[in-house]
């Protein structure tokens, strides 16, 4: 029989098959591309229906009705209908009804025709004696006549429906989840399960940070590196990022300070921040502009090392475009390529209304763009969203197509109710379709806890997650903004899912936390090839009147730290490129002397015959730690002009100039946004994935702000 007519096709698409049935059915699907396409079509139709039906106006819930319900049975009216409802329920849920009172024949009597006299046994309820609830005989008498009202008034003009209150639905859906979470057996009702979590929440929250996935040493280190520095990038508890601007490095005379020492830095977060501000049409906070991170955002075509070295060093010297008399020294490091497992990541993002808070979806988007910036080009990313409708907003896409991924992220908007059940099915489906054998296959849920399993029973969901984990697809859950009164039980669902999914559960409340955790998730995919990588440059006073390290303000080390293996520095990952620029004022050029000559000391003897401009020294430790290795070499300036330099140097210089302009740097010389556009526009190189083109767009946006 063709799968086309098999109801399992729809059941599978909607996530209704159990684990065994899913396995069996997927085997059939694998050989049937038409049926696979149909699964997608069914899901699209389901999403459309769900979206349409969820925006249909709800019937109005008037306050009087709510008040009546909350007042309890003593105020009930229309009991005849109610009684028949009970009778109906008795058929399906006999055990509830039968235990509702002590009269064994109550249900059958009601079933037989709902004689008014039988009603009181139901109306007694579990009222506490001290509450003095009016007993029912009176209310039955007074309410009975109203039982005909629905019929009499049924044809009245209907009240206008009120608009669906998304916020409230959203909040309310927690209840449904909460009730689901408890896993209480039918007979054992635990009030704490379904009650608002006000009392339980503080304890849960207090415990949450401890559950953060703490990566292995490498992952943690990388996270630290990416986050940068506690001193410059702090996030306050409200989630607002605070920046403290470190002053730019000034020009320094080698006669006074011949050594410049710093740690490498592979962060790129500043570029993401600058980009997001400019895309919003706002000027970036100058303190958030870290030039080394802007430069290191881009790939450079440095040759990888040979002979088993962990990285190759490429130094190039040319004139500075913004000050043609000055020289630019570009130090480029390229980590060796290591085969590492490819990653197949499927993000399942909650875009329901409650996620719009600034400490939720915006944080998630920011963290994800940082993550994408750090992925290997061959890693794959897909995005599935769930809200009132669920759907695939980005099919699995190689990370090198950063533009497509970031574009999909930019377009994410929050709104609608939550239905995670359908979404998670789809996320696993996408992950399975793009499964990387021997790689990292992971579904990552980002939610604020409104994880309404909705259309799928929780038990089936947990089972599926468990089964998928055995099949090699792990689950990570990132909880957002779950502080305050909201948290509680959905936490438990999410945590249980992550637990079964062979994954981690993390609570994210600030941008820095988001980046850290997301990069921790990459623990398995990032391979560190050298750690504590330090650079020390000795300038030759015979050639260099003054020098200035562009950026890396927070990464400067004391000269003596270079040889001290106990002083931490940055890591370099497989295939990573790191770029640093020095601006040098050659001897004989005006502006080199910023400090008066010393009165009591003579400058050290200078070898006037040396053509060497500087000596570059690099020190690194193996990824596992241990004694450091030193590499060094001298650099001679051949007087190359900017126009004749490599596209990589020209592009890095353009980015540096852009950063200086955004910072309002006094060292920007003749640089303008227009000039940057020209320099960078001529230095695009291959730009296979249009990152550099994207940079031009940003410069244009910045230019309009001037």
């Amino acid at each position: 029989m063709s799968l086309h007519d098999d109801p399992r096709l729809t059941a599978y698409a909607l996530g209704e098959l159990d684990a065994a049935e899913t396995t069996e059915f997927e085997a059939l699907l694998a050989n049937d591309p038409a049926a696979q396409a149909e699964v997608d079509a069914i899901r699209s139709m389901a999403a459309l229906l769900e979206g349409e039906l969820s925006t249909e106006a709800d019937a109005p819930v008037d306050e009087a009705l709510r008040a009546d319900v909350l007042a309890g049975p003593s105020k009930s009216r229309g009991w005849m209908l109610w009684a028949s409802g009970i009778a109906a329920a008795a058929a399906a849920f006999g055990l509830f009804v039968m235990s509702a009172n002590d009269e064994p024949d109550a249900a059958s009597r009601l079933n037989a025709g709902a004689a008014p006299k039988s009603a009181p046994v139901f109306l007694q309820g579990p009222a506490e004696p001290e509450e003095k609830t009016p007993r029912v005989a009176a209310s039955v008498a007074s309410m009975a006549p109203q039982s005909a009202a629905p019929m009499r008034h049924a044809d009245r003009a209907r009240e206008k429906a009120t608009a669906l209150n998304l916020r409230s639905i959203n909040r309310d859906s927690r209840f449904a989840d909460g009730a689901v979470v408890g896993d209480a057996p039918v007979g054992g009702y635990d009030p704490n399960v379904a009650l608002p979590p006000a009392a339980a929440a503080p304890a849960t929250r207090a415990a949450r940070p401890m559950q953060l996935a703490v990566g292995k040493t490498a992952g943690k280190k990388i996270a630290t590196g990416l986050l940068g520095r506690g001193d410059a990038f702090n996030a306050d508890p409200a989630g607002r990022d605070q920046f403290i601007a470190p002053p730019e490095n000034p020009f320094t005379q080698p006669t006074l300070e011949p050594l410049s020492t710093f740690s490498i830095d592979v962060d790129t977060a500043s570029y993401s921040m600058v980009r997001s501000r400019l895309n919003q049409g706002r000027r970036p906070n100058p303190a958030s502009v870290r030039i080394e991170e802007l430069m290191n955002y881009f790939d450079y075509d440095y040759a990888p090392p040979v002979d088993g070295q962990p990285f190759a060093t490429h130094v190039e010297v040319a004139s500075a475009p913004w000050a043609p008399a000055h020289r630019l020294v570009r130090v480029g490091l390229k980590g060796k390529m290591v085969d590492r497992p490819r990653a197949n990541l499927v993000f399942l993002l909650d875009v329901s209304g409650s996620m719009s808070a600034r400490n939720k979806l915006p944080l998630l988007k920011d963290a994800m763009s940082t993550l994408v910036d750090n992925l290997h080009p061959d890693d794959r990313v897909a995005i599935v969203v769930y809200a009132g409708a669920s759907g695939l907003v980005l099919d699995s896409t190689p990370a090198k197509n950063k533009r497509a991924i970031l574009g999909a992220l930019e377009r994410l908007k929050s709104g609608g109710g939550t239905n995670g059940g359908a979404g998670i099915q789809q996320a696993y489906w996408v992950a399975a379709r793009n499964f990387v054998q021997g790689g990292v296959n992971r579904v990552i849920i980002g939610t604020d806890g409104d994880f309404n399993v909705g259309t799928t029973s929780r038990h089936a969901l947990v089972e599926m997650v468990e089964q998928r984990a055995q099949g090699g697809i792990a689950l990570t859950v990132l909880g957002f903004g779950m502080g305050g009164s909201g948290g509680g039980y959905n936490d438990a669902t999410l945590e249980q899912l992550a637990d079964k999914g062979d994954g981690n559960y993390a609570f994210i409340d600030t941008a820095s936390e988001a980046r850290k955790v997301l990069v921790d998730q990459l623990d398995g995919t990032l391979v560190t090839i050298a750690k504590d990588v330090k650079i020390q440059v000795e300038f030759n006073p015979a050639r260099v009147a003054a020098y200035r390290l562009i950026g890396y303000e927070n990464r400067r080390l004391a000269a003596q730290d270079f040889n001290d293996d106990t002083k931490d520095a940055g890591e370099i990952g497989a295939g990573h490129a790191v770029t640093a620029l020095y601006e040098v004022i050659p001897t004989g050029v005006a502006g080199g002397r910023t400090v008066d000559p010393l009165k009591y000391q003579r400058p050290k003897p200078i070898d006037p015959t040396s053509r060497e401009m500087l000596t570059l020294k690099l020190r690194y430790q193996p990824p596992t730690g241990g004694k450091s290795t030193l590499i060094s070499g001298a650099v001679i300036d051949d007087g190359v002009q900017f126009d004749a330099a490599s596209a990589d140097l020209r592009f890095a210089a353009s980015v540096a100039a852009f950063g200086m302009l955004l910072r309002g740097s006094p060292h920007a010389g003749s640089a303008t946004m227009d000039a940057v556009l020209g320099w960078a526009g001529d230095a695009l190189g291959k730009d296979e994935w249009r990152y550099r083109q994207g940079f031009l767009d940003l410069v244009r946006k910045a230019r309009r702000l001037r």
């Binding site: 209704e16 319900v69 229309g78 039918v186 009702y189």
Partner: protein
């Protein structure tokens, strides 16, 4: 359970489900009767002990509501036979605003097409996509075997896809 605790619990349940239940029941019997049926259903929730929790609450509420509605319809069809048909599938109490965009037109068509499906298919689709019930829950609520629910769902979605395909070609 203490009454105050139960009240909190009922309140949460009411706020979570009442809007959806009202909409669901209104489609069966109209707004006025729906209000009463939903009220009575929650009154019933006060009474049952132990209360339906977890996975059981939603199907429990829908079952009670649906059976009350069907009972009412039976009663009405006896008393007001000539009017009974009017009440089988009342129009939605409010139609979504029509916007000129392409997708909205398609979406509105979807609702119209949904309205033309056989009642069995329409009901399972609504319970699924408007109320978020699982196959199992729908089977419980509608008192149909789960295989029937599965087949109705498959046919219903198939018909809608075909109808959309025809409308757009």
């Amino acid at each position: 359970m203490k009454r105050t605790m139960r009240r909190r619990w009922i309140r949460t349940a009411f706020d979570a489900y009442a809007p959806r239940l009202l909409r669901y029941v209104a489609r069966l019997v109209g707004d006025e009767a729906a209000r009463d049926i939903v009220q009575q259903t929650f009154m019933k929730l006060w009474q049952v002990d132990p209360p339906p929790v977890g996975d059981h609450l939603a199907p429990w509420l829908y079952t009670v509501c649906r059976r009350s509605a069907i009972d009412l319809r039976r009663k009405e069809s006896r008393m007001l036979a000539h009017q009974a048909q009017l009440r089988v599938a009342p129009p939605p109490s409010a139609t979504p605003q029509r916007t000129p965009t392409e997708t909205k037109v398609e979406a509105n068509q979807i609702l119209a097409m949904l309205g033309r499906l056989p009642e069995g298919e329409r009901e399972v689709l609504r319970l699924r996509f408007a109320s978020g019930l699982s196959y199992r829950e729908i089977a419980d609520v509608t008192d149909k075997p789960i295989g029937t629910v599965s087949a109705l769902m498959h046919r219903g979605i198939r018909s809608l896809r075909t109808a959309v395909g025809e409308a757009s070609s």
